[in-house]
């Protein structure tokens, strides 16, 4: 008896061990093939290594002997082989066309022979598991199979492992597609012998868009093997109408926009404008709807601006299409009702479409920077995948409402909420140790970098608030300690980011890099506000969310206008632009005043609410850091304003002309909004109040222009009256003295042979002492934490 008992134990032991051993072996092979593929020169060898690695990876799925895992295995393998076949055949065709199989000869060949290139690119993107292809769902199902098996360490490892293969494929895409082709002319293949490739491509895309049909055949198969009935999670995606409208618009722009940039730009801005009425039909709550309205409003301005910005660029229609699809992804994130389709649209928003839009200039620098940002986004998505699937596994529902109802407080759920918070905070680029990875790339065209900074990054805090709301709603019974801890820690991360990003902004010398740093620091404010989850805190955070959207986009558009008219992004080559571009200067000044929180401008009121909220909850440290942040912001913008717009006129600026009215109209609209929201914050606070009611926090007592918090209140109209009365008195003093005015030289002790270059204090020689201290802190950080540090100058 005991021998059989022993036998069982041994078999269990052996079986247990062998499963364990198998798992480890798979992991080793997986990593080995990945590294080999990463550094190999020959295209076919790279594909073979990655094939072996991923198959082994899928094999480890079988170590879990649940029918769900087996169904996931079958579904994944099927999709996997569809893509591998397509990619492999396309690669062989390309090698035959180019004549050699080493990667360097194929540099840029993909674009020269598009008929072979498209299936190859599609295969590569599919292998990465990005949305429009079926492998996106099969990977999702694979990870959920692991999670279903109980562990949550191995799925995270798996998701991180995917990053290794992502690097392999992105390297191939970068070389084959985004480079200049210098070789001899290639001969493209006719349609008929390329047709099977396109058949596979269409099959994979259909599987990606309508996953429930693709999954249906595999469910009974799983039933054959073990206990039937336990199926793969419902993969139905709900497509909101505005998203479809925008996608259709993107196709229209791609088709009609080829002729002229003006037509393409105006068409795409019309598409966004016309998408607004379709919002009325969608059933999203006021929170999602108001974000959607803002997205579309900003998009119309952005496209109207880029009509004249992209004038001397190339392939504008391709840029507009990718931009529109990215916006449709963002719209999907804001409107979708369940977390699953939110993640689907999230992947569309920060997937390869954004990569193509960011690398639009196609010079080496912009491709390299865009790749870095794409890698960072993919890593963020890995966190989200695991978090979402754990939440589904615990609550059993995708839909937000149902998820909140049967939300149980288990430590796995705490881990899921933590992962999701990390993913969303990473999207908002907090604690930027390597700004070129954390944030959207500098050399990308200004319309898209302005739009990402002001609107796309907001999806991070937007979703974070939703998750916090669900967690806090669900865990009413027991005080969900980890949630308070997560909220407190994310508050501290926000506060530290404010100081860190603003002090790095002091060091940098390029306009766009400075604005990027300030986006991160202002997002720190939003996260500090939102992570308090009190009514004041959330209201402050969301108001800053809206204000920041307007004044940050305004500043980016001004920087773009300056870039177009002077041709340089370096601040120290500019000087005295205020005279040549007065309107741009006025808009820029309004942006600076609102971002540094000067009263009467929009930045002030939201910061006021955030400070009160933080002080009410008693976090003194966060309050001090965030208050200090606004002075840092003002100091770095003084540097920007002085060295670019004021001071002596440099010769590069002599022939600068005022921006065209295509640029000026959006800028002045945003400037007007910044001032309007500064004086009448009620306009934005009314919808925010209704959101607070949705999040069942009690709304603020506000009027159109004042906010009251307990005993003290702030009334912006009163401030406007007081300040303008004071300025009126000063004006009266001016008016009393009708003395003559006379133009004279600037006083430099009478010396008259100084050239403007010598006498202009540019951004390089501003604040040496503050820079010394910040550089010292960065060196200290490198020594202690060992990170490569601020990466500021490029």
């Amino acid at each position: 008896m005991n021998s059989s008992l022993a036998a069982d134990q041994t078999t269990a032991l052996v079986y247990g061990h062998s499963a364990e051993a198998l798992h480890i072996i798979c992991l080793i092979i997986f990593v080995f093939c990945g590294v080999k593929a990463l550094f190999h020169k020959d295209l076919k060898k790279i594909l073979i290594y990655s094939l072996v690695g991923l198959v082994v990876d899928v094999r480890s799925l079988l170590t879990i002997d649940s029918p769900f895992a087996f169904a996931a295995f079958l579904f994944h393998v099927f999709n996997f082989f569809v893509c591998i076949g397509m990619m492999y055949m396309a690669a062989r065709a390309l090698e035959k066309a180019v004549g050699s199989n080493s990667l360097d000869d194929m540099r840029g060949a993909g674009r020269v022979v598009p008929r072979i290139g498209i299936p190859l690119a599609a295969g590569l993107f599919a292998m990465m598991g990005l949305p429009p292809f079926a492998t996106f769902f099969s990977k999702l199902v694979m990870v959920s199979a692991f999670i279903d098996a109980g562990g949550y360490v191995s799925p995270t490892l798996l998701a991180a492992g995917e990053l290794l293969y992502f690097l392999v494929f992105i390297r191939v895409i970068k070389i084959v597609f985004l480079d200049r082709y210098k070789g001899s002319p290639l001969q493209d293949r006719e349609w008929k012998n390329v047709a099977p490739l396109y058949g596979l491509l269409v099959f994979s895309v259909i599987g990606g868009l309508i996953p429930q049909i693709a999954v249906k055949p595999f469910l009974p198969l799983a039933g054959l093997m073990g206990a039937p009935g336990y199926g793969i999670p419902p993969l139905t995606i709900s497509w909101p109408l505005p998203v479809l409208w925008l996608m259709a618009g993107a196709a229209a722009v791609y088709y009609f926009g080829r002729t002229s940039n003006k037509k393409a730009g105006l068409l795409s801005s019309l598409v966004c404008l016309s998408a607004m009425p379709t919002l009325l039909l969608s059933s999203a709550g006021v929170y999602g709807l108001s974000f959607a309205v803002l997205i579309l409003f900003m998009a119309t301005l952005q496209f109207f601006y880029s009509v004249s910005y992209m004038e001397h660029s190339h392939h504008q229609y391709r840029f507009y299409t990718c931009f529109l699809i990215m916006i449709s992804g963002l719209l999907g994130v804001s409107l979708s009702q369940d977390i699953y389709s939110t993640f689907f649209f999230w992947e569309i928003m920060s997937g390869w479409i954004m990569y193509l839009a960011l690398a639009h200039e196609e010079d080496a620098f912009s491709v390299q920077e865009a790749t870095k940002y794409f890698i960072f986004n993919y890593l963020g998505a890995a966190f989200l995948v695991v978090g979402i699937l754990i939440m589904y596994d615990v609550t059993g529902h995708w839909d937000y409402g149902k998820m909140a109802e049967n939300f149980q407080y288990t430590e796995r759920m705490a881990f899921a909420v933590l992962l999701l918070t990390i993913g969303f905070i990473m999207k908002a680029a907090q604690l930027p140790f390597r700004i070129d990875y954390w944030m959207h790339p500098k050399p990308a065209p200004t319309p898209i970098s302005g739009y990402i900074s002001s609107t796309v990054l907001k999806s991070g805090p937007f979703m974070m608030v939703k998750i916090f709301f669900i967690a806090s709603l669900g865990a009413t019974a027991t005080t969900f300690l980890p949630l308070d801890l997560i909220k407190h820690v994310s508050g501290w991360i926000g506060a530290l980011t404010i100081i860190m990003a603003a002090s790095f902004a002091m060091l940098t010398n390029s306009m766009k890099r400075l604005l990027i740093f300030h986006t991160v620091s202002q997002l720190g404010y939003v996260i500090v506000g939102c992570s308090l989850m009190t009514s004041m805190g959330l209201a402050g955070g969301l108001l800053h969310f809206v204000n920041h959207m307007f004044f940050k986009n305004l500043l980016f558009l001004c920087a773009g206008a300056v870039f177009i008219s002077t041709g340089t992004d370096k601040m120290d080559q500019l000087g005295g632009l205020g005279r040549k571009m007065p309107l741009t200067f006025i808009c820029f000044m309004i942006g600076v005043l609102s971002i540094s929180g000067v009263p009467l401008f929009s930045g002030f009121i939201s910061k006021w609410i955030i400070y009160h909220a933080v002080m009410d909850t008693g976090y003194i440290g966060i309050a001090i850091l965030s208050l200090f942040g606004s002075v840092l912001t003002l100091a770095s913008f003084v540097k920007f304003m002085h060295s670019a717009f004021l001071g002596q006129m440099q010769d590069r600026v002599r022939e600068a002309r005022e921006a065209s009215w295509y640029m000026l109209v959006p800028m002045s609209i945003l400037a007007g909004l910044s001032v309007l929201l500064g004086i009448f914050p009620g306009m934005a606070l009314m919808p925010i109040n209704s959101m607070l009611v949705d999040f069942n926090l009690q709304p603020l007592q506000i009027t159109i222009s004042s906010v009251t918090d307990g005993v003290d209140s702030i009334n912006m109209l009163f401030m406007l009256a007081a300040l303008s009365l004071g300025m009126g008195v000063a004006g009266l003093l001016y008016f009393l003295t009708r003395t003559k005015t006379r133009k004279t030289h600037v006083f430099v002790c009478g010396v008259d042979d100084l050239t403007p270059e010598d006498s202009h204090v540019s951004s390089v020689n501003c604040y040496e002492d503050a820079k010394k201290i910040i550089k010292g802190a960065v060196k200290l950080m490198k020594k202690t934490i060992g990170l490569k540090g601020d990466y500021v100058e490029r």
Binding site: K740, R742, T744, H745, F747, C749, G750, V751, D752
Partner: protein
């Protein structure tokens, strides 16, 4: 008219056109050392010609400093008084016949008060400033009539 009070705060501005600094040391002492405190009269040394009311010019206007002097004189707002300090600006002083000086101050600007001496005594500077204030008062009236 406010000129009665405006006259009580003359701001002084020093221009050194190649002087041997003897007069400049005297000018400095009138402001800084407690003994000859020019602030009693409401005077204050300003750093910029744009704030100047009474311009104290020292030095025999050497060739190099001629262009600087012309530019700086143009940067001084109108109701102003020019005081030549020491004999050099008045007549070239001991350097009168030298090749490198461009002659007395009157050739460049309409001087109002001459305080001669080499170097001048702080008390005579106070004399000069008091006299300049008198002239300045007339100028303010004329300036505001025009």
């Amino acid at each position: 008219m406010l000129s009665r009070y405006a006259v009580k705060s003359p701001w002084l501005f020093r221009i050194n056109t190649g002087s041997c600094n003897g007069c400049d040391v005297e000018l400095a002492t009138t402001a800084l050392i407690p003994r000859y405190d020019v602030e009693r009269l409401g005077c204050k040394y300003t750093g910029s010609p744009k704030h100047a009311d009474i311009v104290l010019v020292t030095g025999p206007i050497t060739a190099r400093s001629e262009s600087y002097l012309i530019r700086m004189l143009d940067e001084i707002p109108e109701p102003r008084v020019v005081v030549a300090i020491g004999i050099c600006p008045i007549s070239g002083g001991v350097y009168r016949d030298s090749y490198s000086i461009r002659g007395p101050l009157d050739k460049f600007v309409e001087v109002d008060v001459n305080v001669s001496g080499c170097p001048i005594r702080p008390q005579s500077i106070l004399d000069g400033v008091a006299q300049a204030i008198g002239i300045w008062k007339e100028k303010i009236k004329i300036f505001h009539k025009a």
